[in-house]
């Protein structure tokens, strides 16, 4: 399914044909919820938090629909909201753990049986990266976004995206080499 891989596809209502907030947001939800949920899931590592963050992003969009100047930008707004929501959850987790780094999520029994060791090893390594590096990797290699859109979604400069991705890959290579 294309939308599960490419969040940026602007499946927003056509500009110039104003829809009610209810129908427009429902249509956006239908088209993008899975991709956005998976984006949040990859960053947060658990399904319940990912669902909450995505629901909150859609509710935020719904509340601000009247103030949205360009409805075709709704998907970009949603993606930024999801990233912000993820950061908020990660901050909260860190504070609850007294500033400890995120621990790699425990794999479900099902995932342990079905998932390959290779994949799990890489995912564990990704989850050990700092939040910002993890975000860049997910946006670049899961969402296939160009650096320009990653920069816009994360509200950082393109050069920062490139350097963060470079550092993330370096750290990832190091972690994977050290893994038993």
């Amino acid at each position: 399914m294309a939308t599960s891989q490419t969040v940026p596809a602007p499946d927003a209502p056509q500009h110039g044909a104003p829809a009610s907030a209810d129908t427009a947001v429902a249509a956006l939800y239908e088209a993008n919820v899975l991709a956005l949920s998976r984006l949040a899931f990859l960053i947060l590592g658990d399904q319940a938090s990912a669902e909450d963050v995505v629901q909150e992003a859609f509710c935020g969009l719904y509340r601000r629909w009247d103030r949205l100047r360009d409805s075709t930008r709704a998907v970009y707004y949603l993606r930024s909201s999801v990233l912000n929501g993820c950061r908020s959850v990660l901050r909260h987790r860190s504070s609850r753990r007294g500033g400890a780094l995120d621990q790699p999520p425990a794999l479900s029994a099902e995932a342990a049986v079905l998932g390959s060791e290779e994949r799990d090893e890489v995912i564990r390594a990704v989850m050990r990266l700092p939040h910002r590096q993890r975000e860049v990797l997910v946006l670049r290699y899961y969402c296939d976004l160009p650096d320009e859109e990653i920069a816009s979604a994360m509200r950082i400069r393109q050069s920062t995206v490139r350097s963060t991705a470079h550092r993330a890959l370096e750290a990832l290579g190091r972690i994977l080499r050290e893994a038993p």
Partner: protein, 343 residues
């Protein structure tokens, strides 16, 4: 693309598929969206151009209004000649609920938690000694009360956030005052959403029940059947369990009662206070000294295990006991394995 980048791409795609399409929940939009209706604009939103085909609404609404005024005049007349009991009773109930809620928040909620409230309620709480810098005023258009740990849900706050307040933002009530529209609830804000918060509450309950069961079996803790049942059921706040463990390690302790989960709070709200006495030999002649030692130990604790209040009181039967009370809301995850390992 390098081999490492390829591995990352494949791993992320594979992991993402663990979130299956059928796991996506239905869209839950707020029950009410703020709109600016105006009859002058044909019933449409004020921001939009007046709808020409909706122009019939103006005369129709005017006619309905006139008819309603005429038809209702006898009712109005009846009402004005009635005693003003109903309205004044509602106002009195609302004022009493607000006053009790403000007093409870000022006395029970830890200022470090941060409290969201409507401006009038914030003023009432501040007037009872709660630091005003820890109060976050909910004004019209507030998007999300995320900066606080607790929200005081008055009618004005419920209007602002609609059904989303209880379903997503703040699902758990820790105290409730009054009833009907005058009701004031004190709710804990779920910063990561309702599902995560409820999962954390469940985990915390399990951890408290596990620790409580061990304490109920501890031979150095003397307790009634009710107290032991509350311990085993996980009803007792994690901070109380920790201090009980510490006190029992120094000498035998008698747990007389747990209390104060907040008026109107659900069973999910832990019991945050405890009445303690020394038991066994320590309850004899050395009693006052041993109580002072108990108070000193409690007083030496640091947050989050430092009680909000410690008081030595004498019961009706003459026994001297120490009453210990922790601030609301009860923190979650204190007894989680990750906290024991120090991670």
């Amino acid at each position: 693309m390098t081999p490492l980048e390829d591995r990352v791409r494949q791993a992320l795609a594979g992991k993402a598929r663990e979130f299956p399409p059928e796991a996506v929940p239905p869209l839950r939009l707020p029950a009410r969206r703020r709109r600016f209706f105006s009859l002058a604009y044909g019933g449409g939103e004020r921001k939009e151009a007046p709808a020409s085909r909706g122009g019939w609404l103006v005369p129709a609404a005017a006619a309905v209004t006139v008819a309603a005024v005429i038809a209702g005049s006898s009712v109005v007349s009846h009402v004005v000649h009635q005693p003003r009991g109903a309205a004044s009773s509602f106002d009195a109930d609302a004022a009493a609920a607000r006053s009790h809620a403000a007093s409870w928040v000022a006395a029970q909620v830890s200022p470090s938690t941060g409290v969201s409230c409507d401006p009038a309620m914030c003023q009432a709480i501040a007037s009872r000694g709660f630091p005003s810098e820890d109060l976050d005023r909910v004004l019209r258009g507030t998007i999300y009360p995320s900066s606080s740990g607790v929200i005081v849900a008055t009618a004005a706050v419920r209007r602002e956030f609609g059904g989303y307040l209880s379903s997503v933002y703040a699902p758990v009530i820790i105290a409730s005052f009054g009833s009907g529209p005058a009701r004031v609830d004190v709710r804990v804000i779920a910063p990561a959403g309702s599902a995560s918060y409820k999962a954390a509450v469940r985990e915390d309950l399990q951890a408290r029940a596990l620790a409580g069961t061990q304490l109920a079996r501890n031979p150095r803790i003397d307790a009634s059947a009710l107290v032991r049942r509350q311990l085993r059921a996980g009803r007792v706040d994690g901070r109380v369990l920790v201090i009980l463990t510490a006190l029992a390690a120094t000498s035998p302790v008698s747990v007389l009662a747990f209390g104060d989960s907040g008026p109107g709070a659900g069973a999910a709200s832990p019991l945050r206070s405890v009445e303690l006495a020394r038991s066994g030999e320590m309850a004899g002649a050395g009693h006052p000294r041993s109580l002072r030692a108990m108070v000193a130990l409690l007083d030496a604790q640091l947050a989050p295990f430092r009680p909000a209040r410690i008081a030595s009181v004498r019961l009706a039967d003459g026994r001297a006991v120490v009453r210990v009370e922790f601030a609301a809301p009860s923190p979650l995850g204190l007894l989680a394995p990750s906290n024991h390992t120090g991670s």
